[in-house]
């Protein structure tokens, strides 16, 4: 069965390593914070200016001066720090953040990503996404493999305006874990109960399929 949003977040959380600073984008990536594997410590950076972001506050304890990049009220963990936006993006561009997780509308087999604009329809802006994808060494994209009409979002070439080029190395979708290298997608794992055939049929880009494709363990 295809994973739901929480399933995708859970699988991505398995990629976290002890001691990492991690930036989570808006949407599915935010959910990753709920599934940190036991025994490891990571710190979440939010680009509006906090390192050491904690869970949502208890009702009645919301602080309007304490939000994440999605403008949601949050809390700060012990040892947290606040900083300005220039310092925040120095952390990001300077590659001091070890992992970036973000959503995408489309990804291409060259590692290009589109997630900020649908011409004529949706023009919200790129926020910090272009800075994040241009700089991060380690980017995981959380996305649905296909849109509601069943059209693949994992493509030979992106059709929407790009957010960054040649930057995506790994995708966790509702159907599969893919690596992006040498101009091709590589099937690494499939969601529990999802067949290789379904993944192949919903992947428009070139997909390398090994003889054995393990199921995700989540």
């Amino acid at each position: 069965m295809a994973l739901d949003k929480n399933g995708i977040a859970k699988r991505i959380a398995q990629e976290l390593k002890d001691g990492w600073y991690v930036n989570l984008g808006i949407g599915i990536p935010t959910l990753v914070a709920n599934y940190i594997p036991e025994g490891i410590e990571v710190e979440f950076q939010s680009e509006n200016g906090i390192l050491g972001m904690g869970p949502f506050p208890f009702e009645g304890e919301e602080d309007p001066d304490l939000i994440n990049a999605g403008k949601q009220t949050i809390t700060a963990r012990k040892g947290a720090v606040y900083f300005d936006s220039a310092t925040s993006f120095a952390m990001i561009r300077g590659q001091h953040v070890q992992l970036t997780v973000l959503g995408a509308m489309e990804v291409s087999q060259e590692g290009d990503i589109a997630n900020w604009k649908i011409p004529g329809k949706m023009v919200k802006g790129m926020g910090g996404a272009m800075d994040l994808v241009a700089s991060a060494d380690n980017i995981i994209v959380a996305m649905m493999h296909a849109n509601k009409a069943g059209e693949s979002k994992i493509l030979k070439k992106c059709t929407l305006p790009l957010t960054g080029v040649g930057c995506v190395k790994k995708i966790v979708s509702d159907l599969a874990v893919l690596e992006v290298k040498d101009g091709k997608f590589h099937l690494i794992e499939r969601a529990p109960g999802v067949s290789v055939e379904v993944i192949v049929s919903l992947t428009e880009g070139d997909l390398v399929v090994p003889d054995f494709v393990p199921e995700m363990e989540i």
């Binding site: 939010s46 680009e47 509006n48 200016g49 906090i50 869970p55 949502f56 506050p57 208890f58 009702e59 304890e61 919301e62 602080d63 309007p64 001066d65 304490l66 939000i67 994440n68 990049a69 999605g70 403008k71 949601q72 009220t73 949050i74 700060a76 606040y82 900083f83 300005d84 936006s85 220039a86 925040s88 993006f89 990001i92 561009r93 290009d112 004529g120 023009v123 919200k124 802006g125 790129m126 926020g127 910090g128 996404a129 272009m130 800075d131 241009a134 700089s135 305006p161 790009l162 957010t163 960054g164 080029v165 040649g166």
Partner: protein, 232 residues
């Protein structure tokens, strides 16, 4: 050097039609809400506003948009504002969307005497169109220029009579860089204290960047996305 002005009217003196303003804040967090209300009252038009976001329909910069006081917005993300989207798609409003880190650095550069810098953000996208590309360490970067403003308006938690500022939580965001990049910078603060009361070790923005400071009359501090967890 005493930078204190009595009220918001005095603080915003000199702002005129057609000027470029920087306004601090991220979403509705850390925005100079007293000054925005006063700009609405003054009815100043054809403004170019440099601000990470454009408020929501009925708060923050959304109030200026409603009155059609803004000619051009320079922002990184404007998704929470339906009136903004309408004015942009209909061509009434000019919009320059800039990657958030580049926006922050362009403001910082403007205040720091750096005319331009290279960044990898936006390379290969429409943001890079018409911009010089250079390779550093094997990676392409694009040239981004500094931003300055006729007036910068920032919001701080505490300020002293010298204009030294302390911010609270994530309300700091763009305020310190914008404070540096205004030809005249106005700070509205929640608490205004005599010089000497703030510990010089813990001041975020030195008063040299501030020309006028005043205590805001009221701060609504509206929350954009109230998210909570249940107590067990």
């Amino acid at each position: 050097m005493n930078k204190v002005v009595n009220n918001v009217e005095e603080a915003l003196k000199g702002i005129q039609d057609g000027m470029t303003l920087m306004l601090g804040g991220f979403g509705l967090c850390g925005i100079p809400e007293n000054s925005i209300a006063q700009l609405v009252k003054m009815g100043i038009k054809d403004l170019t506003c440099i601000s990470n976001n454009a408020g929501v329909d009925d708060f923050g910069l959304g109030l200026l948009l409603q009155q059609r006081q803004i000619k051009k917005m320079v922002s990184s993300y404007v998704g929470e504002n339906a009136e903004f989207e309408r004015q942009m798609l209909s061509g009434e409003l000019e919009v320059d969307l800039i990657p958030q880190g580049s926006l922050a650095e362009r403001c910082r550069a403007g205040g720091a005497g750096i005319p331009a810098f290279f960044t990898p953000a936006g390379y290969g996208t429409e943001v890079a169109e018409g911009k010089e590309v250079r390779i550093f360490n094997g990676k392409p970067h694009i040239l981004e220029t500094a931003l300055t403003a006729d007036f910068s308006i920032v919001k701080a938690w505490k300020g002293d009579t010298e204009g030294n500022l302390v911010f609270k939580g994530t309300a700091r965001n763009f305020n310190p860089m914008m404070a540096m990049a205004g030809r005249i910078t106005i700070a509205e603060v929640e608490e205004l204290v005599p010089a000497g009361e703030l510990d010089p070790n813990f001041i975020h923005t030195p008063g040299i960047f501030i020309q006028r400071i005043f205590k805001g009359e009221k701060f609504e501090k509206r929350i954009e996305q109230r998210t909570v967890r249940q107590r067990n």
